[in-house]
Amino acid sequence: MIRRLAWPASVLVVAAAGVLSLTVGTRAVPLSAVADALLHGGGSPDALVVRSLRLPRTEIGLTAGAALGVAGAALQAVTRNPLADPGILGLSQGAAAGVVIAIGLGLADGFSGYVWYAFAGAVLAALLVYGIAARGRDGASPVKLALAGTALSAMTAGGTTVVLTSSAATLDQFRFWQVGALSGRDAGTVVRMLPFLAAGAVLVLGCARGLDALALGDDTARALGHRVAWVRGSAALGAALLTAAAVAAAGPIAFVGLAVPHLARRLVPGGHRAVLPLSALLGAALLVGADVAGRVVRAPAEVPAGVMTALVGVPVLVFLVRRRGAVS
């Protein structure tokens, strides 16, 4: 019963989050006015708010949340680790450091410029964290991966602070981006995100069967005819692309990719070909929902969506850590 309803229910939740994101805020816009603004445009204040402020931020929330959800599911499968998440593994901070360096050196402006540096930073961070955690006898255990990610995050945060302290102009450009807020992005961002998201999604979804096989262990996966190294590399690269696009658009947002795949795995059978798309839906709903909650919880001020996802995500992390078998 639950399993049959999982798909329509998820779509409904995403739609509801989207509608809430369009209507709720400092200026409440009634649903009819939202529909009117979307369909006919017009110059009324309500229409302006909806079309120029709320619509871009909802679009970015949906796409970035979907990207982070898929990236989390892929990383959890690749590292065979229930605690994997682009934020916990340091990918998001790596991407952020790439963006800061790009801004600080005056190399890039706007999303299309940021995204390449974010991508480079995310890939470097992934290689570094996995390389360090995989050393030693017991391989890349959850604790070591999480701690390596934390250490890398702290280090890049320190480096970021040094760059920001020495350049006031960078600070001014960066601080709006850094907090992980969805507001204040221009309308074209989501269109420019799409190629990166599509490439990442193709890479990850293309090896969904391989990810299923990885869960059985490397040897079994190999015996089933999967090229293990190729599956890992392609899924990790796809996750890095998705993370980079999401971070470049919305700033470093952690914990979306942690909880969502666990929920998705419980809701649907059928391995990663079902889990990955459902993670995308649930991730989109979670991020947009967090953004809406951030607008409400301390109104009229706004709490960045990244802060809200951390508050939601940490209890999930603690629950997963406490669960038997998560930490050996």
């Binding site: 030693g136 250490a151 702290a154 280090m155 602070t161 301390r298 960045p304 940490v314 603690v318 850590v321």
Partner: protein, 375 residues
């Protein structure tokens, strides 16, 4: 069979067995034992590790040298003779720079570093895990969150009460981590550290939550505090911290002795007659109080508590973490880092917390890359 048993070493009192064990583990050089027994009174005796004494003296000399250097260097150079005259007379052309600007922050840096180093040694001894230092398990974040709430809401008026606020926050966070990591006893290993990391993230999210709608002036004040910098801080922070350190001194002397058997595993320590749970609790609370007070005085400065005890142990080559040498190393690291942060990119100042993170992050990664650091 029985003959062989009779020929074996006679049974010994357990406490002496510990001493023997240590003798065999640490390298003795030139035929001299590595420990000496000081017996100032027939009923009072101290076990002194010879190398540790030398290391402590060397660290102290180095610390004083760096403090003196730090008093001379900065935006304007003041010669050592001038510094000495300004210190002695409290007057002269350099009085403002030396006595008002530099000396307070140097003293504060040394106190904060010493408190963090000692706290790191205590907590790492209890958890028997180099990663479970106060800054990793959320004590710093707890102290920071409590201080930010107090600053942002204006609930605590007097600056003298701020150390209490940060200690309460640090203790609260430590207790929360402890409770959440508890499942049939606290393992020192992964669960504890991971829960600590998670709580740290949640607490910094709470800080952001309060930053979002507080008054602009309060937000500026909080932001300045959150960078973890010694800039613009001085006697009003150093005073309470120094008082706490002085009050904690007897407890530290106790902890230095009591924590020694905790380096062994719990069963061995219990067999030696140590009340393991009580000693653990006391030592942990002491470490958390020290770390939280230091955070309250200077903002969150990462990685000093993590690295100092490990560095100190590599210097002294003792099997357990040396408390005094850890404190001295912490003070040295922080004063030196502050000197670099002040003079690297003049006229700007890098927050010293950013600098210690830049240096400490790779160290933590290296620690993880080694075998057996995490079980």
């Amino acid at each position: 069979m029985s003959g062989a048993r009779r020929a074996g070493p006679p049974a010994q009192a357990p406490r002496r067995a510990v001493v023997r064990l240590r003798d065999q583990q640490s390298p003795s050089r030139g035929g001299r034992t590595t420990v000496a027994v000081l017996r100032p009174h027939p009923r009072l005796s101290f076990l002194v590790h010879r190398r540790s004494v030398g290391v402590a003296l060397a660290l102290l000399a180095l610390l004083l040298a760096v403090m003196a250097l730090s008093a001379c260097l900065g935006q304007s150079y003041v010669s050592p003779a001038e510094v000495w005259r300004a210190l002695r007379t409290g007057a002269g052309p350099h009085d403002l720079v030396v006595n008002e600007l530099r000396v307070p922050r140097i003293v504060l840096g040394a106190l904060v570093g010493a408190a963090l180093g000692a706290a790191g040694a205590l907590v790492q001894t209890v958890t028997r895990n180099p990663l479970a230092s106060p800054d990793v398990i959320g004590v710093g974040h707890g102290a920071a969150a409590a201080t930010v709430l107090a600053l942002a809401t204006g609930a605590v008026g007097s600056p003298a009460a701020m150390p209490l606020v940060s200690v309460a926050g640090g203790l609260g966070a430590a207790a929360l981590v402890h409770v959440l990591a508890w499942r049939r006893g606290v393992q020192a290993g992964g669960r504890f550290v991971l829960v600590g990391v998670g709580i740290g993230v949640a607490l910094s999210a709470v800080v952001q939550l309060y930053l979002a709608d507080s008054e602009l002036e309060a937000a500026e004040q909080v932001k300045l505090w959150l960078t973890g910098s010694l800039n613009g801080r001085g006697w009003e922070q150093a005073g309470p911290l120094g008082a706490v350190l002085l009050l904690a001194l007897p407890a530290l002397v106790w902890a230095g002795r009591a924590a020694r058997p905790l380096g062994l595993d719990a069963d061995t320590a219990a067999a030696l007659g140590v009340r393991v749970d009580r000693v653990r609790l006391g030592v942990t609370v002491l470490g958390v109080v020290l770390a939280a007070t230091a955070t309250g005085a200077a903002g969150p400065i990462g990685f000093v508590a993590l690295t100092s005890p490990q560095l100190a142990r590599r210097l002294t080559r003792t099997p357990q973490l040396p408390l005094l040498c850890s404190a001295l190393t912490g003070a040295l690291v922080l004063v030196a880092a502050d000197l670099v942060a002040r003079t690297l990119l003049p006229p700007l100042e890098i927050p010293v917390g950013a600098l210690t993170s830049l240096v400490g992050g790779p160290y933590l990664l290296w620690l993880l890359g080694r075998r057996s650091a995490v079980r």
